[in-house]
């Protein structure tokens, strides 16, 4: 099956920001979570994927179509919803639904009706009166009801109350049933990314800092609490990402854990007290800190 997304060497430079050398692949039927701070380049990446922006260099292939030359064919298969998208304030959701239905093949009116109920949206109210959460859900509905092959969602759960967030995750999860449909979504909320992604990509200052399948990420990172006398070659170990010391207590965050590592640490004279898995948020923050960062408390 054709990959949903293939990016090779994609670069786009602006005055004060640049997306550099992005290599990314999303196989069909998978969900990828994109994690990054504001200004990391997530929105730029999404716009390149929808053909809105032409990169300075590199190849962009989405759903088998090369962008931006084949953007119409690609856009027919893509459902794109982003945080900075607005709909026509004076018009109703129903008007927008009719517009989408006329512009695309494959509108599912029955499913749209279901989503209206689940998302608790009023189809005949002008969109200017919608709250932020309702607007996000409306945009999602307009994409989901077409059953697009690829969903590109920029911050779909940001700013939503817990109930709305759950509804959105549920609607996204329904896409999982089909092994031909894929999702790329970005989020500040690492919990959502951790829960529903098959693979995860960290974007920082326009560069992909890490891309891995989720289980590998979570398997490879550990937080190790040790006690003992500090030696500089502890920090020099290649697996060690960050070090924090508080008296004789040493906390190591390790990026490629192996069973041999605790033994190695004991050989360096440390007593290993605890080895814990790290959650995605912790892994992300640790990943984007400068190399071998050390903190002394």
């Amino acid at each position: 099956m054709t990959a949903a997304i293939t990016l090779a060497g994609v670069t786009k430079a602006y005055a004060d920001f640049a997306l550099s050398d992005i290599d990314l692949e999303l196989p069909a039927g998978q969900v990828m979570g994109l994690v990054g701070v504001n200004g990391a380049g997530k929105s730029t990446l999404f716009r390149i994927l929808t053909g809105l922006i032409r990169p300075d260099a590199g190849q962009v292939v989405v759903c088998g179509h090369s962008l931006p030359d084949e953007q119409v064919a690609a856009k027919r298969q893509i459902g794109y919803a982003s945080d900075d998208m607005r709909l026509y304030k004076a018009k109703s959701l129903r008007w927008h639904m009719d517009l989408i239905r006329a512009a695309y093949p494959g509108w599912d009116e029955a499913y749209a009706g279901q989503l209206l109920q689940r998302f608790d949206l009023r189809p005949n109210q002008p969109l200017g009166g919608f709250s932020h959460g309702q607007r996000v859900k409306a945009l999602l509905l307009l994409s989901l009801a077409r059953h697009p092959r690829l969903l590109l969602l920029d911050e779909p759960t940001t700013g939503l109350d817990p109930l709305a967030r759950d509804e959105v995750l549920q609607a996204i999860a329904e896409v999982l049933r089909d092994d031909d449909r894929s999702v790329l979504f970005s989020s500040h909320n690492t919990r959502d990314v951790e829960q529903i992604s098959d693979s995860i990509a960290f974007l920082h200052r326009g560069r992909l800092v890490a891309v891995q399948d989720k289980e590998s990420f979570l398997d490879h990172w550990r937080r190790i609490l040790c006690r003992g006398e500090w030696r500089d070659d502890i920090a020099a170990l290649p697996e060690v990402a960050t070090v924090r010391r508080n008296g004789s207590v040493i906390e190591l965050k390790v990026r490629s854990f192996s069973e041999a590592l605790p033994a190695q640490l004991r050989q360096l004279g440390l007593i290993v007290n605890d080895v814990n898995r790290m959650d995605l948020e912790d892994i992300f923050i640790t990943s984007i800190r400068p190399e071998g960062a050390q903190g002394v408390v």
Binding site: R47, I78, M85, R86, A103
Partner: protein, 227 residues
């Protein structure tokens, strides 16, 4: 270049812009009907009042339409939504240009046809027709220039400058053609005289329309991606 699906998308976008602007257009049309009524009602006072109202409305309906259809997409941030529809940049810009012209043609044709009817079939002197038509076409020209500017220039401030300049030019233009010999001579008679000068002015106006719209279409049609 213009496949069937391409044309279908352009039509979809033009209809969309039309529907977004519909309600306000209805308001302007009502005002124009009132103005035309005043012009045709017989007394000099109502004629002048009606004419003034007509010119003001004809200018503002156009500039307001440009604001709603072109400038607002950027301001209201509906651009990403429209651009994510399965359209090429060419189809998008062509549809914008087309919508911007068509939306103006509705009140414009209403005014031209009604004026022609009023001039020919009421007590108003027929010679007025040449004078009126030249003014109306000037306003169409002015609208097309403003439309081209709005599509080329992002800054709302500069667009206002362009529109102000065009509005300011209206008065001198009216005075100028009113002073041209062949036109002035026949103004209050019942002779409709298309003198070479009048035709020349008309040709000039239409040429500007063609250049403005043609350049805009060519300029935007070259874009392969939106941004």
């Amino acid at each position: 270049m213009w496949s069937e699906s391409s044309l279908a998308m352009v039509k979809l976008l033009v209809v969309k812009d039309w529907q977004v602007y519909q309600k306000q257009l209805a308001g302007y049309l009502a005002g124009l009907v009132l103005a035309l009524g005043l012009i045709g009602s017989g007394s000099e006072w109502t004629f002048n009042a009606g004419a003034l109202l007509l010119l003001v409305l004809l200018v503002s309906t156009g500039f307001f339409a440009i604001g709603q259809i072109v400038l607002n997409e950027r301001k209201e941030r509906t651009l990403p939504f429209v651009m994510s529809l399965p359209v090429t940049p060419t189809e998008f810009y062509s549809a914008k240009l087309l919508a911007g012209v068509l939306v103006y043609l509705v009140p414009f044709l209403l005014v031209v046809l009604t004026t022609t009817f009023l001039v020919l079939y009421t007590a108003l002197p027929d010679g007025l027709l040449v004078y009126a038509l030249l003014i109306y076409v000037f306003m169409l020209t002015s609208h097309c220039v403003a439309l081209s500017a709005a599509m080329a220039i992002e800054s709302e401030g500069w667009n206002i400058v362009v529109q102000m300049a065009l509005m300011t030019a209206l008065s001198p233009f009216i005075i100028w053609i009113g002073s041209l010999q062949p036109i002035a001579a026949n103004l209050l008679t019942d002779h409709i005289v298309w003198s070479p000068i009048a035709l020349g002015v008309l040709a000039g106006e239409l040429l500007v329309v063609a250049v403005a719209l043609g350049w805009t279409q060519w300029h935007h049609a070259r874009k392969t991606s939106f941004l």
